[in-house]
Structure formats: structure tokens, C-alpha cells
Symmetry: none
Subunit: 354 residues, 2 copies
């Protein structure tokens, strides 16, 4: 396996080769996922469980809060399988869960679950009513005080309907987004998503400040992770944002916050790592999103795909039915800089589906 | 490779995935091994050397205190080969030896050998005359003050005839044992072992307190490790007891000590890890031993066997001639959570026998 450089230079990721990583999973819910057909990241009617099941599977290889693993309606298994496969082949030194508004806790012991006393964020077509500034401040504090024994942190997410809120967020902040945002669907359900985004944007007025806007149409994950990145600059923590266009939206929020306060950021210890499926996606453009940042950013994509598999459920990834999530792009890049092969990862993922 | 859960949940071992381990080898001698044909863990007439040779081989891949590696009369090589194979493939961060009554020291430098000024424990058919309370107190102190830079400790043992003393110990403490204790023999030499145990139990009177009983018919390893476990709860050290029914006996002693003082233990950071050969052994029942504990315990077994080998000496393991020792079950579980494959371990062990 290898990785491709989307933006920046190879040096940051090369420097992390062989080093130890803590994996942080931002597990969150936006009630936007309750809009019918808006997301296929999970079991219809139970999408709010997806981040909980992902956390359980990643940590224990067991799904405890529901009798079956999260699958999309077409039967695409959660990308948590890929992240777990990498973890089994070359373990992260540590996994911790960030509870960014789950309805119930993952049923796992020993693993640290950070609690921030948050509720699921609301539907953005109904005014999400997120206490954006409060969440941001909690995240700044957490980022400033966060300590790890490892060399770097891989920050991932699991939040169904997250690409819709990410797209709305970037639009509200004035970024060019047309055709740039990804979806967990191959045939992007643009009507439902666009309708939702349009309805959400209607609530935003020009007099609203940045955090008011975020409160209307963003989600806990985006706001929190933007704060975490800014806070963790105090320690110059090395952070890989493991995700696709949603993590790009996190960086756009960071950018807007810096603009609003005339601030600057040393982004040399930050990178975004995603999948080949995002990098080569014809229906989105992560590079175009990242190029709108005022600061330089390293961005990489794994070259992993399921071309060595003949499993029909996994081939759907190569056909564009699922592209990112649960940090699988970051996990694959981590696998690449730790010597894993495509064959090893393919076989391990397949072993979960038998 | 993978592991199976005998008791408890996967979470504790999953949490240790990718984390760093110190391997502690309790090297000890009970003169019970001098009873002819009671153990095949070593070279007849030189069984007292077995723990010394095991320590040397584990640390250096060389046998220094005897010109050949410890083998059973039928030619089953010591399980130290398995532990060493795992160490070569994915090294423990640190190995330390606990000298629990060796007649001579292992000839190794740099590796820490903890000395506790103990003599080999006596033959239990002759009244072992162990200063049980003194050893227990030393162990409590050692456990309380023991520090490691690693995330957890794998505590293993090498003590020939140890299953006999373990069985006698559990019986004297009133536990149900019929058919539950393992042996290094396939055709368990029950007559000699049972005769020895019966003779040992004759010395125990109901007026004897717990430590008097242990002094008659236990061994240094069991008493010390029980104290180590209790002492190390002060720091909540994460400990894997790497062994089979002997380590179960250690836990039964912990249990009896707690009962005698109306004490309690937080066992959430403890687990027992053993081999498939013990887990599937028809002549013993480790689960039944562990189920007699008053506290919950996590117990796991490796799924490793020598089915991928054609080496006749190794096939004897699969035939039940050797089952545990030198922490090989714990080492294999450690290998499993660090991504080693059965093929890798098999080939490495075979390379030692050429």
C-alpha cells in the first residue's frame, strides 16, 4: 500500500512512518439523519446507533448495542471494518472515543470515553439549535489539555448525515461548494440533500455571527473538531484528520474562525488523510475545498481499493457506494506508513464478512 | 492468530492491543520435581535446571547452563521456544526474571534478575517447609513497589512439577479439583502425582491456618505470585497471568487469602491467558477452576496450534504431550493482539529446531 499527496509535501506523513498513534473517534449524531433517505450510513430507523456500533466494533470486533453490524440499504458494510482491519494488523497504541452527543453510550469497558455533556445536534432543516460557542469552548479546552503518550493523533468521525451538515456549513460560511461535497450514496440523493440544505440556509441572516450560523446548520462533530484543532496548537500536537469532505469542512470552519479574529495558525503539524474513493470521486472535489483555506495544508489519500477482493459487498466501495468514515482513509494511510499490504488488509476485511 | 474468551469479556485484552508489555518470568524450583517420573518438564536428573535454561533461552536464544535445550523424555521441546518465537517476531519491551528459589543463576547479563533470597521449596510429600508468610510478604512489597514503563505486565512461570503442587494447593484450600488439573504429560501419571498429593495432604490438619497449609504443600511460585497480584492492586497494574492451571491455582490462593481476611479485590485489570492445548484439554478444566473464584476474572486462550507444522516434535503439542509453560499461552495472546500470524510463529519455532 502507498499514499498519494493531494496537497503539500510528503514530508509530514513520511515523518510519522513507524511512529505510534492514538486513534480518537468523534462519535456524534445530528438529527438531520432522521430525514428519510438522506444518508445510507447505517440501518434505516436506527441511524442514530451507527456511531455507537462503529465504536463498539472498532474497539472489540463486536456489535453490542444492536444485533447486526451497520450496513447501508444496499448492503455496503461500514468502513469501520477497514479501520478495524488495520488495527488488527498493526494496532493503534490507543483508541479513545469522544462522545459528541450520543443517545446511549457504547457498551465497552477499559476504553476511555470522553464525555462532554452534549446532546445530539438538531435537524438543520428545523434550526439545529446547537450551542455552538459552548461546544467550541469545550473543544478548545480539551485540545489545549489533551495529552498522549503517542507521537500523533488520528482524529476520525462517525456521524450519519454528516456530509449534508458539512455542505451546509461550508455554504453558510461563504465557501465555493458546487459539486465539491461527497455523499455516502453513489447516486447522490441530491434532491433531498439540497432541499435540506436550502431550507437550512434560509434561517441564516447576514447579521448572524459565525457561531450563530454554525448553531443553525452545522453539527457537533464539525464544531468540536475545529475547536480541538485550534486548542491543540498550544501543544503543537501532530494531528491527522482522518476523513473526507466532512473533515475538509472542519478545516474550513477553522479558517473562518481565524479570519473572524484575524488569527493565524501553524498548520505544519496537521494533515488530512482520506481514501482513494474520495480522492478519485467524480461527484466531489476535496482538493477544491482545501484550496480555499488561507493556510497551507498537507492532504494525502491512500491508494487502497478492493480490486483484490471478489466479495460483492466490498466491490460496492470501488463502485462508489461508500467512500469514507470511521477514519478509514487515515487508518489506511497509517497502514501504508507501517508496512501493511493491500493483500493483508483485503483478507482481514474479508474475514469479518464470512 | 486470534484468541478465545474463556470467561469475562474481550474488552480487557482488546484494550491492550498494540500496547507495550514487560514479560516477567517467575523461575522457581520445587524439590517435588525430584520424585521420579512426576514431571516431564526437562531432562531427567536435571529438572532443577529447567527454569534456568528457560530463562537463558528466552532472553538470549542460547542455553548456557547445560549443553542442550530442555526436552521431555519423549522429545517435546520446552514451550520457551514458543515464547521466544513471539519475542523475536514482536518483541516484549522488557524481560525480567524473578528468582524464586533457583539453585544457580541464569547466565545472562543486562537482563534484570530480581533476587528475593529464597531457597527451592521442598518436596511436598516430605513437608515442603516453605516460609509461606515470609514469601507472601516479600511479594506484597514487590507488587506494591513494582514500576514499569510499559502498559502492562505478562507474568509467567517455569517450575517443574508445578502442576502437582498447584493441585495439592487447591485441594488443601478446599476447592473442587477432581479432573481439573493439567499435566505436562499426555498420559497424566496420575498414580505418582496422586500418591504425592495424598501424602502431602496427610500433613495438613484442620487447625492449620492458610499460610501453614501453603507452607506444607504449595510452592514458591504460587505463593509469591499470589502476593504479587494482591500487592500490585495498589497501583492498579495491568497484569496478564500467563499460564494454565498453575496460574489458576495462584488465583485460588488469592481468593482464599481474601476470604480469610474478608477482603475484596478489583480484578478488572487482571486476566489469565493460556493456550489452546489447555483450553481444549480433556484431562483438565481450567474454566471450572476459575469459576470457583469469588471475584470476576477475564480469561482468554490463544487459538494457536501446530497444525501448520510437520515437525514431529512440535506435533506432540497438538497430541497433548505439552500444553503450557514459560508463559507461552500469554505470549501467543500477546502475538494475536499484535498482528502475528500462525504461519509466522510456526516458522519461527521450527527455525529453532533445525
Amino acid at each position: 500500500m502507498n499514499f498519494e499527496t493531494i496537497l503539500g509535501k510528503v514530508d509530514f506523513l513520511e515523518f510519522l512512518r513507524g511512529k505510534k498513534a492514538t486513534f480518537l473517534l468523534s462519535a456524534s449524531v445530528t438529527k438531520t439523519c432522521e430525514i428519510p433517505n438522506i444518508s445510507q450510513a447505517g440501518i434505516p430507523g436506527f441511524l442514530h446507533l451507527t456511531p455507537i456500533l462503529d465504536a463498539e466494533f472498532l474497539c472489540t470486533k463486536q456489535v453490542r448495542s444492536m444485533p447486526q453490524i451497520a450496513q447501508t440499504p444496499k448492503g455496503v458494510p461500514t468502513p469501520a471494518l477497514i479501520t478495524r482491519a488495520v488495527h488488527e494488523l498493526n494496532a493503534f497504541s490507543n483508541i479513545e472515543i469522544l462522545n459528541l452527543g450520543l443517545e446511549t453510550l457504547p457498551q465497552i469497558s477499559h476504553f476511555k470515553i470522553h464525555d462532554f455533556n452534549m446532546k445530539p445536534s438538531g435537524r438543520i432543516d428545523d434550526g439545529a439549535r446547537i450551542q455552538a460557542l459552548e461546544i467550541f469552548q469545550k473543544a478548545i479546552e480539551f485540545g489545549q489539555s489533551y495529552k498522549t503518550n503517542d507521537d500523533y493523533v488520528i482524529l476520525a468521525e462517525s456521524i450519519p448525515a454528516g456530509t449534508t451538515t458539512a455542505n451546509a456549513t461550508a455554504l453558510a460560511l461563504g465557501y465555493e461548494c458546487e459539486g465539491y461535497f461527497s455523499s455516502s450514496y453513489k447516486n447522490n440523493p441530491s434532491d433531498i440533500k439540497n432541499e435540506t440544505i436550502v431550507n437550512a440556509l434560509k434561517r441564516v441572516e447576514s447579521k448572524n455571527d459565525l457561531f450563530e450560523k454554525l448553531g443553525f446548520l452545522s453539527d457537533n462533530m464539525i464544531i468540536f473538531n475545529a475547536g480541538f484543532i485550534l486548542g491543540s496548537r498550544a501543544n503543537n500536537l501532530k494531528v491527522i484528520l482522518a476523513g473526507g469532505t466532512q473533515m475538509a469542512a472542519v478545516l474550513l470552519v477553522v479558517n473562518s474562525i481565524l479570519r473572524s479574529m484575524d488569527g493565524q495558525i501553524d498548520s505544519s503539524n496537521l494533515a488530512l488523510c482520506t481514501t482513494k474513493w474520495i480522492n478519485k470521486d467524480e461527484n466531489s472535489n476535496i482538493k477544491a475545498l482545501l484550496e480555499q483555506l488561507d493556510f497551507p495544508i498537507n492532504a494525502y489519500a491512500s491508494d487502497f481499493d478492493f480490486s483484490e477482493s471478489s466479495h460483492p459487498a466490498l466491490k460496492l466501495y470501488d463502485e462508489g457506494e461508500a467512500k469514507e468514515g470511521v477514519g478509514c482513509g487515515g487508518a489506511l494511510c497509517y497502514g501504508a506508513i507501517n508496512g501493511l499490504t493491500k493483500e493483508q488488509v483485503t483478507k482481514k476485511v474479508e474475514s469479518f464478512l464470512v
